[in-house]
């Protein structure tokens, strides 16, 4: 007997509220449909009425978690259009802010994933370790989110010498914490049993669905914009791209955790370099935008983020086009969810990091066979019960 379960469209903590339709036979998911476009604010149209400087503040508010990725991609597009040079110090500052954002975004994901499988301890602990990063942001940029650091041709604010020890201190504290979390997740047999082999996205499927970022790297696809087409200061520091072969949720978690170490490494090298460079040289003005078009892409915590700008030589852009990474990653649910059980769906959909949260909205339907009501909370509960069962079987 086939049953249809709608999930959504409003989950309060989604970047873009989405609507999922699951078709299930018994416990097994046999078909899945995704609808997007519920959070449409007309950003690309508003951008046409803003000057080039103002567009940066607008794209910063596309997503609150990627609030450095979109501005970086946009300034790269503008600099590509104008052929502008960016001072070296500004490049390092961009890298520091982008990597700090990656750290807080990956930790946020790990916490939510922990909540979905019923490990609320992980949720609370990880979010505790995320707080110092936000405090650091407040110190160096003036705001906990929406940093307003980026500017075409450079950055708005300098990171002063007096703030560098604070960055080092946070990194020194975060590294052992991240090590502890990595061990806790890799060595725990319950976590292994719960995450391994769940929602496998094979390498062929990853390429076929054009997935990006950690989702692709967890399936063995070796792509990273930071290395392939370096922007900011990524070609001036030493780091490596993390690739895992599994394709399951465990591999996705491992990729994110190991990327945290690389981010810490990048930030440390950038801070060392900032020490040597003269303060204040952070902006080279762009006198006029020529006629033409520009493209900028950037590795956001969720994958490649692409911005396109067309100009007629005036003060306002003619067209701004944005392609966010989740747009590419969403359709891969079709490959990773089908054949899995309902109790794993919450976890798999969270695996690509579209930022789900526990506080949910009702989307109730009658299952014609046993008159049961399902909603997002039920899915999370099913997922948590499965973990509990595994934990008992393993005697822990």
């Amino acid at each position: 007997m086939r049953t249809t379960i709608p999930i959504g469209p409003y989950h309060p903590l989604l970047e873009e509220p989405e609507f999922f339709k699951l078709v299930v036979e018994g416990e097994t998911v046999v078909d899945m449909d995704v609808r997007i476009g519920w959070n449409h604010r007309g950003i690309e149209k508003i951008a046409e009425g803003k000057t080039y400087d103002q567009v940066i503040f607008l794209v910063e508010r596309i997503c609150g978690i990627c609030s450095t990725s979109h501005p970086i991609a946009n300034v790269l597009a503008q600099e590509d259009l104008a052929g502008a040079e960016v001072p070296e110090r500004a490049q390092y500052i961009r890298s520091i802010v982008a990597e700090l954002e990656r750290l807080h975004s990956h930790l946020l994901w790990l916490g939510l994933a922990g909540h979905f499988i019923g490990y609320n301890t992980i949720f609370m602990w990880v979010w505790k370790y995320r707080e110092p990063i936000l405090d650091l942001f407040e110190l160096i940029t003036g705001n906990r989110n929406d940093y307003a650091m980026l500017r075409p041709g450079g950055v708005h604010r300098d990171i002063y010498k007096r703030d560098l020890p604070a960055i080092r201190k946070v990194m020194d504290e975060l590294e052992p914490a991240n090590e502890m979390l990595t061990k806790a997740i890799l060595d725990d047999p319950v976590m292994g049993a719960r995450l391994k082999g769940v929602g496998v996205l094979s390498k062929e499927d990853a390429i076929r669905y054009c997935v990006l970022g950690p989702t692709a790297r967890a399936s063995g696809v070796d792509i990273d914009v930071r290395r392939d087409e370096p922007y900011a200061a990524y070609d001036k520091v030493e780091w490596k791209v993390i690739v895992q072969e599994g394709g399951d949720v465990l591999a996705k978690a491992v990729v994110r955790l190991l990327e945290n170490f690389e981010s810490i490494k990048i930030i440390r090298q950038c801070v060392d370099r900032l020490e040597e460079l003269p303060e204040g040289d952070i902006w080279s003005p762009i006198p006029q935008m020529p006629v033409g078009e520009g493209i900028g892409h950037e590795e956001a915590p969720r994958g490649e983020c692409l911005h396109y700008i067309r100009s007629d030589g005036g003060n306002y852009p003619l067209r701004v086009k944005v392609r966010a990474p989740t747009y590419n990653n969403l359709p891969s649910f079709e490959a990773s969810c089908i054949g899995e059980t309902i109790s794993d769906v919450a976890l798999i959909t969270a695996g690509i990091d579209p930022c789900y949260c526990c506080t949910e909205r009702m989307a109730a339907v009658y299952d014609s066979s046993d008159k049961r009501l399902y909603d997002w909370q039920d899915l999370v509960r099913l997922s948590q019960e499965k973990t509990e069962k595994i934990r008992k079987e393993l005697g822990r």
């Binding site: 409003y10 989950h11 309060p12 903590l13 989604l14 970047e15 509220p17 519920w38 959070n39 449409h40 604010r41 007309g42 950003i43 149209k45 508003i46 009425g49 503040f57 607008l58 508010r61 596309i62 997503c63 609150g64 978690i65 609030s67 946020l108 949720f123 609370m124 979010w127 505790k128 707080e131 936000l134 906990r144 989110n145 929406d146 930022c355 949260c357 526990c358 506080t359 949910e360 909205r361 009702m362 909370q377």
Partner: protein
């Protein structure tokens, strides 16, 4: 003070709805629940259904698709209850107020008791907003 508002003040349960926000206010609201701020000490809890809630927190300027649902939610909310508009977008429409798909700030759809401005408001500001709203009851 009536019995209803007396009982309301003790442990306000909140329901959160996103009507087109950028995720920022939402994350900061969730941050209030985690160890650093930990509002659960005061009995403040996020609940999954509006029928259990004492306060409705709305983030984001209201998009066309969200407006009827927001109104429907407010009609289902047990009264008396608080409505809190969170963030610049919820209070005034913010940077999105000129958009073709935005109907307007939250108070154009439902009556609002407390406005918490900021982009995003800090967790301290959110907690202070809830406390001020409770003092009003």
């Amino acid at each position: 003070m009536g019995l209803k508002s007396w009982s309301l003040k003790r442990s306000p349960w909140i329901f959160h709805v996103c009507t087109g926000s950028c995720n920022n206010c939402d994350i900061e609201l969730l941050d209030c629940l985690t160890p650093k701020f930990d509002v659960e000490r005061f009995g403040i809890l996020l609940v999954g259904s509006i029928r259990h809630a004492d306060a409705l927190i709305v983030t984001g300027a209201v998009t066309r698709q969200a407006a009827p649902k927001l109104k429907y939610l407010w009609e289902q909310m047990p009264k008396p209850g608080l409505v809190i508009a969170l963030g610049a977008c919820g209070c005034s429409g913010g940077i999105f107020r000129d958009s073709y798909n935005i109907i307007g700030p939250v108070d154009r759809i439902i009556p609002v008791d407390v406005y918490v401005p900021g982009c995003p408001p800090k967790p301290e500001a959110i907690i202070s907003g809830i406390v001020k709203g409770l003092a009003k009851l």
